[in-house]
Assembly symmetry: C2
Homo-oligomer: 422 residues x 2
Amino acid sequence: MSDKKISTESYKGVRDFFPADMAKERHIFNSWSKTAESFGFERYDASILEPAELYRSKGAENEELVNEQTYTFTDRGDREVTLRPEMTPTVARMIAAKRRELTFPVRWYSIPNLFRYERPQRGRLREHWQLNCDLFGPTDYTADVEIITLAYQVLIDFGATPEMFTILINDRREMSELFASLGIVDPEIVGQITRLTDRKKKISAEEYQTSLMKIINNEAPVTQILQLIENEAASNSVLNALHSLGIYNAKIDRTIARGFDYYTGMVFEIVDTDPTNNRSMIGGGRYDDLTSLFGGEPISGVGFGIGDVTMNDFLTTHKLWPQESLKTGPSLMLIPAEADDHLSAQKIAAQFRSRGIKTAVDIGSKKLGKKIADAAENKVGFVIVVGQNEIDNGNFELKNLAIESSQNGSIEELVTYLLANS
Amino acid sequence: MSDKKISTESYKGVRDFFPADMAKERHIFNSWSKTAESFGFERYDASILEPAELYRSKGAENEELVNEQTYTFTDRGDREVTLRPEMTPTVARMIAAKRRELTFPVRWYSIPNLFRYERPQRGRLREHWQLNCDLFGPTDYTADVEIITLAYQVLIDFGATPEMFTILINDRREMSELFASLGIVDPEIVGQITRLTDRKKKISAEEYQTSLMKIINNEAPVTQILQLIENEAASNSVLNALHSLGIYNAKIDRTIARGFDYYTGMVFEIVDTDPTNNRSMIGGGRYDDLTSLFGGEPISGVGFGIGDVTMNDFLTTHKLWPQESLKTGPSLMLIPAEADDHLSAQKIAAQFRSRGIKTAVDIGSKKLGKKIADAAENKVGFVIVVGQNEIDNGNFELKNLAIESSQNGSIEELVTYLLANS
């Protein structure tokens, strides 16, 4: 071994999950799973290692993305490997592989970790986890409605109320029709307007208008575009359906475009209404022919994603963390009175564990008082001191550390008490 | 987009988890978690990305291991990164980072995915998941006993019986004492004998004896080493304690050495007794000063690991897969009679979901009979056809697909029925 001491820090831009952090992650993942499954979605997963061609094949723009924003390396078999930066290409690959065996509509969800090689900043780490839900097959607008309803329910199931967030909906086909009605049909111009409009909330009204003018070079449509984009009363069948389902914190927002090229119809975002956490949390939409890279009949779908960091910030902002499900460690600590009692304590522990009580033995070498204090500090609910006396007469004292009371009895009596009181 | 079709296969040596595969993985992970937590172990995790120095720093042997058997690459910030091949260095780093804040004994578990760059073969993929349990702090032999008891219970909690596996125990300190009693004290010679003995089950008795002779070059100790290694009656305090805890499928096996250099005391393996799956499933042991790389006071511990592929093979070999917990997808499928009924079906679905019933809507364009057949094929328990008639009179027919019976009633009556019957 070398004498050089190495750092205890994790790799740059990723997180260590100590038990308290892990409890929060698990709370998020469990709630996500439960909501997705209540809609009949089935969980899948894949390796984080994917052939780089899965991301490169979409053209020059993606070539740059793969080279500069992903972890891509060549393995010793000369294969180019990428740590997956998003789940959509993976799920498209899997759906394409099983298309003949699957019964559509297919409802799948996953909670993958995703990697991006970028400058770490708030909410944008190099590794994060993301809930991905997709509904494959139907092109009916009620599939779009279901996906938005599921995204809504994901937040509601954490205890959120509708005032805490807003659902912003748009539709790329509707936008094309609106532009066409103004005589703008060149896909290149439409694309430029869309990308500019996507940034509208981040730039000044003046900058937006000037840039729009540069693209179109004609004053009349600019005014009309501004009117249609700012039309607060805009509606469509998806929005009407959401209202009929009792979801009222939704509206049409013509600036919503979503970054990914593969969206072709409805697109949506969910934003936090709290000004201190004012940002997009959930994004998704409808895409056609997701599996085109792999050949065969087109398969369309609709889906969304939400990240763990974003979810964590939302729960913190709105004080939605539960206390109980974040508890880690044992409910009961058995403390041997002497080192000789360690094995006896292990035997007794087995009896409590077999009845479903999370039980640990403090086999450290500290003094009894310190061990009890440690248990209290670590939020262990109950302790039992196990000594020769207690073992001989089969009568144990169960101390409730939270309320500083205690209870005497046989192991069986204390099991019954604990099952009723914890 | 390019016209070139790309493969739907995953990267070499890793797995896709389609819903049926994922259900098996989750069954394994859930059972592992439950058992570890019943012993008061707390879950942690970290990123798969670790600084390469975490693995390199242990000397030349490790240098080779890192270069040839791990995924290691240089990021654009010129940092060497390794995809973690095992969890022990990571947990040592995390324990070292928080040593001042932690209350020992610390009981931690994790279910990380680990990466090895090697030729894919049965049970040795490039990516696998592993349950890792470690107890840090106490050097008492009862900590060793607890870890073996936990490993035993991990298998029992899947429904295994003690005849299905054997616990083989050894102790590196005891082996050193036994060798010393034969006059063999040179650590280099002891190391050579240990590595040879570790391979004893894989080579012939003759080859073992010849190789031993080459190392020692003295006939008398060779005979004595053979005797002590084959001593079926060997015992120690750990084995006696296991017996007193009712664990009888354990014995001392002097050939058990375990590959890792960091083990310093008790070492153990659990092997499947079925001749068709005859191999080591669980391995672990005691180590001292795991955190030496990071400086500070030594921290010792005892732990073990078991992989998901091995676990999967054990459950298959002994027919221990449950049927019920492997079911994925909805319990109830609502089938709209006409496309116009899609939205009504979504509204009704919300009512079932809010009562905890996993409910999906078949918004596909197939015929009614085909949709019902699809639901049956996908093992959906119940279907309700939602048409204008049913909506108008508020009376729905719930078909039980498993037993081909049905039940009529209002949504509320059917909710009550389903909660009582599924």
